[in-house]
């Protein structure tokens, strides 16, 4: 799991630190401060999950609800 932080507008450090502490996040976090990469992927909202297969193919985009995400991960793992 990679987290990409977007749309902070100001120095993201204090807010992202607080966010990680609140949700117990220790995964890799990358900063897309201009949201340029998000725009390249057509991301229009947060949260948005992008599932990527081993050959670099996008298999799903969206998937906010836990049940949807679980099902998509199962499909990804079994593919």
């Amino acid at each position: 799991m990679i987290l990409i932080d977007i749309w902070e507008g100001t120095d993201p450090k204090p807010d992202v630190d607080r966010f990680c502490e609140m949700w117990g996040i220790d995964s890799t976090i990358l900063l897309d401060e201009t949201a340029e990469y998000a725009a390249a992927l057509g991301i229009r909202g947060v949260p948005t999950n992008v599932l990527v297969d081993a050959d670099g193919t996008i298999v799903d985009i969206g998937l906010v609800r836990l049940d949807e995400l679980d099902a998509a991960i199962d499909r990804l793992v079994s593919s």
């Binding site: 990409i4 749309w7 902070e8 897309d32 947060v46 949260p47």
Partner: protein
């Protein structure tokens, strides 16, 4: 097939009626959340929560023309035309500011409970309600004297509020408790509760149906709740991560902002069907409506979308969000800075692995 390859002719062309029309997208500032409209002056007010101010948008020129410094982290707004006052719920100041709409100056600061995040004015009853998220309560304030009439115990995460004058009822939704509290406005006592979906954060009421519509942001649904027996009647489908809700003026539809989809759902109040999903800005939240014109504050893109809802009534089929066009394509390469190490990292590091990218914002 390119656009030029599409054959055009009476036998093959279908002219679909667009459900909505984008009028403007106005830059307003950092993390806009609540929005209110002042039709007399042709203005919209937008609470820019991380800038600690309210942007004043001229609706004729679609531009931000002034900023009002209020308390810390203004989240929600209400405008009272009778007194020409704008009210802001300042979450980190535990207060509500009253602003003179002519001078754009704060004329009063009203102490409420901890972390007020929802604000609703009942103009006829001359009251304003504040939902205090960390105080687990709802403040009832006189709209003319600014005196606190009552403080009613709700539940943790109390925020959005709606009222039904025909039933002498106020509904306060509780984000963290995932519930709604029903309050009698004659006695200011709690007369019921209902458990809804996780992340309950917005509410609207259609009195003639006897229903409240409650947005569950984490569950990704809208609950239709009976105002007579306080039960959930059904869950409605909208876009991803819904966070805002406003009832349309004719009460035949609700508008729901989908923070995860970047869209505005138009949902029929009678049929519960999603009539349309209209594109707005990035990470939409607060909504105000005037006739068929809808104003949406977009926390991600820092803008106010102004959109006309062109639907006269329900379409033949429910709107379905189409699959994302990049599904099945290769992920574009990235090279981004690691938040913890400051090192640049590229997509090559994750080559030949299956993984998930989660786009998020801390607000």
């Amino acid at each position: 097939m390119t656009e030029l390859d599409i054959p055009v002719g009476a036998a093959c062309r279908i002219d679909a009626v667009a459900p909505g029309l984008t009028i403007a997208e106005v830059p307003v500032g950092l993390d806009p959340e609540g929005v209110a409209v002042d039709l007399g002056r042709g203005r919209a007010y937008v609470a820019c929560s991380r800038a600690d101010n309210v942007a004043v948008v001229d609706l004729d020129t679609s531009s931000t023309v002034a900023r009002i410094q209020v308390g810390t982290e203004p989240i929600d707004l209400a405008f009272d035309p009778a007194t020409d006052r704008l009210f802001t719920a300042n979450a980190h100041s535990d207060s509500v500011s009253a602003v003179d709409a002519e001078s754009l100056e704060v004329v009063a600061t009203i102490d409420v409970g901890l972390y007020p995040s929802g604000l609703t004015a009942d103009h006829a009853a001359r009251r304003i309600y504040a939902g205090n998220s960390l105080g687990s309560s709802m403040s009832v304030i006189d709209l003319d004297t600014y005196e606190t009439i009552a403080t009613v115990e709700a539940e943790v995460g109390a925020g959005a509020i709606a009222f039904d004058r025909t039933r002498d009822l106020v509904v306060c939704v509780n984000f963290i408790a995932a519930s709604a509290t029903f309050i009698d406005t004659k006695t200011w006592t709690v007369i019921g509760r209902v458990e809804v979906g996780s992340g309950a954060c917005a509410v609207g009421i259609v009195p003639e149906l006897g229903h409240a519509f409650i947005v569950n942001s984490l569950a990704g649904t809208v609950s239709r709740v009976s105002l007579d027996d306080y039960t959930v009647l059904e869950e409605l489908t909208v876009g991803r991560a819904p966070v805002g809700l406003t009832v349309g003026p004719r009460h035949d539809r609700i508008y729901v902002s989908n923070r995860g989809s970047g869209t505005l759902s138009v949902v029929g109040t009678a049929d519960g069907m999603q009539w349309a999903q209209l594109p707005v800005g990035g990470g939409p939240g607060g909504i105000a409506v005037d006739g068929n014109r809808v104003y949406v504050a977009n926390a991600g893109s820092g803008t106010l979308s102004i959109v006309d809802d062109l639907l006269a009534g329900p379409p033949p089929r429910p709107a379905v969000e189409p699959p994302h066009p990049l599904i099945g394509h290769k992920l574009p390469e990235f090279s981004l800075v690691d938040f913890r190490t400051g090192q640049r990292r590229s997509s090559h590091e994750w080559a030949e692995r299956r993984y998930i990218i989660n786009f998020f914002a801390s607000w």
